[in-house]
Symmetry: D3
Subunit: 240 residues, 6 copies
């Protein structure tokens, strides 16, 4: 059961509204890596989770993201206010916001694409979902960082820094929850990989040119790695 309190989780002060920046902010309201996506991903994972302790964590963080949705929505609304009817020129007016939405926020991204559950990653397997969440938090962090780069308004910067910080907090929590599950770093589900193929690295992009050059690194040499060169060409040669 949910309850709402009529205060923002983080107080937002905006100096001069900036319509263009408000539109950018919609990415974190109704966009692919935004707060609704986070809230829904963790809350739905939590609803499905059979591990009672990590279920509680998913609900804690999922609920916090709803409060973030409200903060970013309020911030965007302050910046978009000049789009209210009769207060902006045609050149400024984003038609979806000004004409359809009457100058308010809606669950669209910065380009007017409607939010879709295709943004969510819900697998019902805890060690998988936690990895999806770590990645989601990393994406949200970099998005906030880039947004901060595009504003000079101190109050806006502060609020975005708070939200950005919380992504790191959640990343740490998801990482700790994953590491204490008692599973190996590449142990997903129950079925083991086939030993014949698991350590082969196929060098499927070769040569050098405008698109770079062939390289080796700890992801294809050392340890158990076996580097296999150009399997498609090898196949072709073996048939001739």
């Amino acid at each position: 059961m949910y309850h709402h309190v009529k205060r923002l989780m983080y107080t937002v002060n905006v100096g001069e509204p900036d319509v263009r920046f408000g539109q950018m902010l919609l990415e974190q309201f109704g966009g692919a890596n935004g707060e609704l996506a986070a809230a829904m991903q963790y809350s739905v994972q939590g609803l499905n989770c059979d591990d009672p302790k990590r279920k509680d964590m998913l609900m804690d963080i999922g609920t916090e993201e709803l409060s973030h949705l409200e903060v970013i929505g309020s911030l965007a609304r302050m910046h978009l206010k000049p789009l209210k009817q009769g207060q902006c020129s045609k050149a400024e007016a984003d038609p979806l916001i000004a004409v359809v939405g009457g100058g308010g926020v809606s669950l669209f991204n910065s380009q007017g694409n409607p939010w879709t559950a295709d943004y969510l990653k819900v697998s019902g397997q805890l060690e998988v979902d936690l990895r999806s969440n770590i990645a989601a938090e990393a994406r949200a962090k970099i998005t906030y960082e880039r947004l901060i780069d595009f504003t000079d308004d101190p109050g806006t910067k502060e609020a975005l820094t708070f939200l950005m910080t919380r992504e790191i907090t959640h990343m740490k929590a998801f990482q700790a929850a994953l590491e204490t599950m008692g599973k190996g770093p590449f142990e997903i589900g129950e079925l083991p990989p086939d030993e014949e193929y698991v350590n082969k690295y196929y060098n499927d992009s070769t040569g050098e040119g405008e698109l770079g050059e062939d390289a080796t690194g700890p992801w294809n040499q050392g340890g158990d790695w076996e580097l296999v060169d150009s399997p498609a060409f090898a196949t072709l040669a073996s048939k001739q």
Copy 2:
């Protein structure tokens, strides 16, 4: 530049076609965690990547996923063959496959939803993209594991085990590439989190009931964690 060789990366043998299972397999052809999603996510990240060595890795693995797309498509097609015109009853016929597609495969998932680039996670920030890829491989691995559970056909099981194994291989490669970037485990981008808020864990879901009970764990206690109880209620109380 791409070249195609007219052989599958892994030879596929199917005993008795199983239309229902063929439809399930479409998840890995045109679904959210499927091979086209993997191929496109890594190849587009590779195109954008400025780190020449990891760019090569992204192109190697992205190209391999194209070959996987062909394997899973061929496997699905073998299972769906009875849906070709005039060879199946109305009860068996999936209309999208049998009527629209003439019994062949298309870039839909198991429910007929068209593949969409909303499935992809491409941030242009390498330490973020690698985390998105690790999570993507984990999701693909569990999906193959579940598919294997639904078939008894030995040839099908073998092909799916090969594909499942390769997801673990890629996960290992992405993890090694991430760990050798020289960034801390929670270091994303350039801006540091705000120290005042980064270690606070907000207990936003409380009480006990059908939906579980409050819990603590390494994700909210120990180390630097500061557990903050029920901030919404606290706010409400402080105003009264």
Copy 3:
């Protein structure tokens, strides 16, 4: 700011799980007229609303719908439980739920379509939004009614009846809020309609046949109505 309490708003008891019915229930979880749509429509309208009293109402009801989302999600999950890995036959298994989601719920409708913000109607004009909400509640009510028709499980019927009832409650609240705004029944926004055209009813579908017959009623005769016959034909005739 939001808080979550670990109890359902309405206690749900399910006798025998019914996978087919669980799939139907997803309409009210992630479908066009479902609880997420209601929660988001009213909460986003509330965020944008400048009338403080009706804003409060929108937030009250929007928050309640989040609790409904949790009830319907829990109910669907109970019915879908047999789809957890290894517990169902291929014939029973909905691939999106069993294979991709591991037997849990996700924000899809009964056919696996992802929830989209295109379901929402948010205009930023209060007398318009309230009408959209009245219609939304009417749709949700009839959907619950039809769902109740498809189950014999007493606990399920009870929970659905509770949720169905609440839609009527909200409909009454929205209607009262609309009627006390001090606007006429056809007064939308500021601009008056053009008196020359507003009372003309164009009879654009004529004749009789498999598709019915021409009719009159209080929607085109009596009062101020002026019935205009077949304007397209008239235009054509006038040119010949």
Copy 4:
């Protein structure tokens, strides 16, 4: 069966083409509250309708909306004409219109989102569909009103006023059709609401702050209303 006459329902005169305004107009051509949505919603409802008289009304109005689609499309095309190949600068050119569409209109909204049937509300229950239609007309009316605010061209204003006026006409017709169905204002379908819960108003958003304050009104007090305060908190308290 349909027939088309090569004249517009309302003659459109445009002074100076205004590309930016033409793009805005696409909201009413291929957008969520636009004329195709209206035409399809009413015509499909009409096809399904078993009440012969109201079926005729749905077909009359659905057909008129097709004629409106043609008017708004013609108007948008006049304003977008400078986007025809070789006639506009890169700065002016909307790529989807100028490059993909060759300067013509397509069934997109102002942001290039493709029209989708997710915009439609078709329930197959007449008293529900009529409410959806009343709300749809209200949304279309306010959209036209806002569009009128963004143009100074007299011919454009006239045409938009005509279209705006007709939305009110249709709203009146749908309202009359609803009121004469012989159903109570909150009577939807067949199943009655549960008397125990129907008159309870849950105060689920409380406190005061940046997001407003608690309020009462005819939507939660007076008449049969029973105001229930903060059920989530109450639940929590009762368990401690």
Copy 5:
């Protein structure tokens, strides 16, 4: 301006309703190659067309497709009638049709995907649009042919044969309109292709295996064709 006459363009008689077949028919109501797609593609092309004679043809055929939409919708509705409330078992009930739509048709395809304008091909270049239309008619023709294969009901077969026939009629009309435009068979727009590259056929898929073998034909040899073997390999070799 449009007018609707209350008779179907082709009288439809259905013996025994067949719910499963009705669902299949939705492909031609709200599916990718269905009648709404045809009606909208031709009518919107017509609206944009500057060639007065071919514009008339596009409007004639676009209008006829609206009448087809009505025929296929009526036919689907007859087959789906048992899905009306209280008349079908849970096993038969398609939730989207039975629960959400009350047993009527909506603008979805056979899998419940909403119709989208992404199905349309409108380029604003007449010699391009006509080719898109020829292809669209060919797809619609084969879809009807496959549908006819899945029914034994004589009245249904007759109606579908009528609709299938008309696709050939339109294909002939579009072909005649294209051939009399005075453009060469490969003349599109204004810019000529680069003579250096236009006759080179790149053999980019080579070898032989499960996926076939290398082949030549009139599409890569004879006439002006120059067959270029394996350019990617050649590039690689040239750099070593």
Copy 6:
């Protein structure tokens, strides 16, 4: 099996980056008529194709389109480079590219719409698929032509001319493959059209006005054509 070579199929040189033009180029990267659409349409058709020779052709061309995708993606990336973090002003920044994608390309069109498999036409019937491909090539050709009109950069013009030219090459190949199948120009599938209806042209749009005038041409007169005037009106008249 696929192999990637680290060189572009056509070397791309860009003088001054042009962000606005880079955004336009995304149409051919992730847009409806772009290179991914071409690559996937032909490759998936090829996977399904039972005619070994034309299957080879579909794979040859499908693979070439993957190389085109890489060329256009590289070209777009060069033009979009100023959108990398910290290098562009807010006015220039497309939020989806600059904020979400970090200045790189993604599989979106010029308006930020995600690529969708709804763009593809895959029927599993060779004479139909080839027509869909001819039309697809024609659309891609005109799109490149219009893009060329919007740039003055010589290197960009050259690369686009190469890509445009190849569309004509493919159009010729598909046309030759179609013409040598041994089927008549209007022979699709197996079922013949109904002779009673196939040569009737219905004049469903009549009169003259802003929308043009009635016309005849080789698409409705001469040969076998029988011109039928205004069938809807005729029906109406016959009933009165």
